[in-house]
Symmetry: C2
């Protein structure tokens, strides 16, 4: 006898996710996730919030990122292992889940390596929408790894930028990124230094993967009126910006309790003022105040963004039918009779 | 092009789990998991330990339970919703994962509703092995829900008990449990009160599901020389024993930081002495000292027990081939080219 409907959890595999992106369209996916993030940031106070639960090792980190809005619960499993690429593995892989708060039953399980790339890019573009100078056309993209194309395309889809200037210490990464972005409508310039990349850019995005204090941007590289989107500094001991830049910038963060541990601001005293981005999105506090201001989105990634992305995905999986029903939950006819279910599943006895 | 081997995570469905139990044999599964728990409790100090991360609601709780021994990381998702049985759903469902600490890549995803029932029963029997009076033959099983048969069979398989005395406020639950245990070799007595159930029993097991302070055992019901196995008191506000019993008993716990929040001892001052069970299993401190002592295992379930069960399961899944390779991880040929992988997965363009 097959399991009942209650046993099955819709599962979005990597292949399903790629098919969903192609069915919906990548710019539409990025805009949709951005819209879900904005909607959830506007109701930020409804969410259970906690710093992610991290398990650190010499090689990297494994994290669980839970949240709940009181009706739906979500969490993501995500790792960060900068040495993985040496062995042909991803630096970051992830999967996630939504569950019904009322019953505790999972309602969606999904790959989130791709979805995290999409939501991280969508989040950056949402922040830039509120913080970047009006009419920004050009982004410097420093660090041309797995995130670079998604960051560029989200800024195009959501903010309307027209040019990206690429730099990576590994020229092959820049070449890969430039080739991928050909034909997207973006003007792409491959640069041979970070200094060259930031020329004329109103948005500076850093996304490098070293698990150590690094200085991707030095103080003298950052002029007035730019918006910095610092993505790579996202765990203790891992930062990308010179501390002097932080002192000149107005700093916007997702969840201060987490960012002070993991973000660029781990370089600053614990009482250094920061603004919670949700307050800007909800209209409670201004974002950019003038065209000389340096704004910094010190992004580390927060559970609510994954929740938003999974919410959006759930609808798209339902609409497209692109998921596999997974036999994840034991569902006996009588809930108290788990043992009876197990016994009735015994293979027929062989002949004596 | 199909994904590479790196994309696939072995997945043990509910059906696989039931097949594995029948292939291995239920008593052998219980003994195997008990052995894995004992081995891991002996090396307790090697593990990262943290109280589980709980998200409470009016209806129940959703928890994440992570741990790591430095080489392997594991976590479990588990809910507890006492009202679920009204709607034909399980009170507790769960799934879990093992991952390689060195790369962060998952190596096993599994249903854990059944596996949690097995490990909870195995854990109880391991505790009783060290704490119950020598030559215990009889267990009172109060609360005859989904755990009851597993508790009874684990005490039989690991401790050699020969009789169980059942009681539940719902006589239908007792009848279900008694019917399931017929033919297992246990002498089964269905009782009409808790007082009757504990007559002649050396081991008193309580496993009820109300999310509220309850008094399943009152002070006068508990005589000298018994071992109490209190399973149902496992979240804030949910206890099963009269506080007077706790003052007469020597109390053994898994992880005090978690048990003081969730266990029977939430009724006691925060400095009430307790013994960590791992210290007994590792031979660092005595378990039962004499035949008049009341021992209490204030069980709430700890992440290391799930880790042990998943470790054991991983070997059995490998041995039996009873798993499904799940396309959970994005695995581009070039790890930095996630975008390229996505683009190459585009469906062929239709004719213009």
């Amino acid at each position: 006898m097959p399991p009942s409907d209650k046993a099955y959890v819709p599962f979005v595999s990597v292949d399903h996710m790629m098919q969903i992106v192609h069915r919906v369209g990548l710019p539409q996916m990025l805009r949709g996730i951005a819209g879900a993030i904005e909607a959830d940031f506007q109701r930020w106070e409804q969410f259970d919030k906690t710093p992610r639960v991290a398990s650190h090792s010499a090689e990297g980190v494994i994290e669980l990122m839970p949240t709940s809005d009181g009706a739906v619960y979500g969490f993501k499993y995500v790792n960060g292992h900068p040495g993985n690429t040496r062995d042909g593995l991803q630096t970051v892989t992830a999967f996630g889940l939504l569950a019904d708060v009322g019953t505790g039953y999972p309602v969606l399980l999904s790959e989130m390596t791709l979805l995290t790339a999409l939501r991280t890019a969508a989040m950056s573009a949402v922040a830039a929408k509120y913080l970047a100078p009006q009419g920004a056309t050009t982004m410097a993209m420093i660090g041309n790894g797995a995130q670079a194309e998604f960051q560029s395309l989200a800024m195009q889809a959501i903010l309307g930028i027209t040019e990206v200037r690429l730099y990576d210490i590994d020229a092959a990464a820049t070449a890969k990124c430039a080739a991928n972005l050909a034909g997207t409508g973006l003007t792409v310039t491959a640069c041979t230094s970070a200094e060259e990349a930031i020329e004329g850019a109103q948005i500076l995005t850093t996304c490098t993967a070293d698990k150590q204090y690094a200085t991707i941007l030095t103080d003298n590289m950052v002029g007035a009126g730019v918006h910095i989107n610092a993505i790579g500094g996202d765990c203790p001991g891992k930062t990308e910006l010179a501390a002097e830049i932080l002192h000149r910038a107005d700093i916007f963060v997702e969840y201060p309790e987490q960012t002070r541990i993991e973000g660029e601001i781990q370089q600053l005293p614990a009482d250094h003022p920061v603004t919670e981005l949700w307050q800007v999105i909800a209209g409670r506090t201004p974002g950019r105040r003038n065209d000389r201001q340096i704004t910094l989105f010190d992004s580390v990634g927060f559970a609510i963004e994954d929740f938003s992305a999974l919410r959006f995905l759930r609808d798209k999986a339902r609409d497209t039918g692109l998921f596999l029903p997974l036999d994840l939950l034991a569902d006996p006819d009588d809930p108290r009779d788990l043992y009876g279910m197990l016994m009735r599943a015994a293979p027929a006895a062989s002949a004596a």
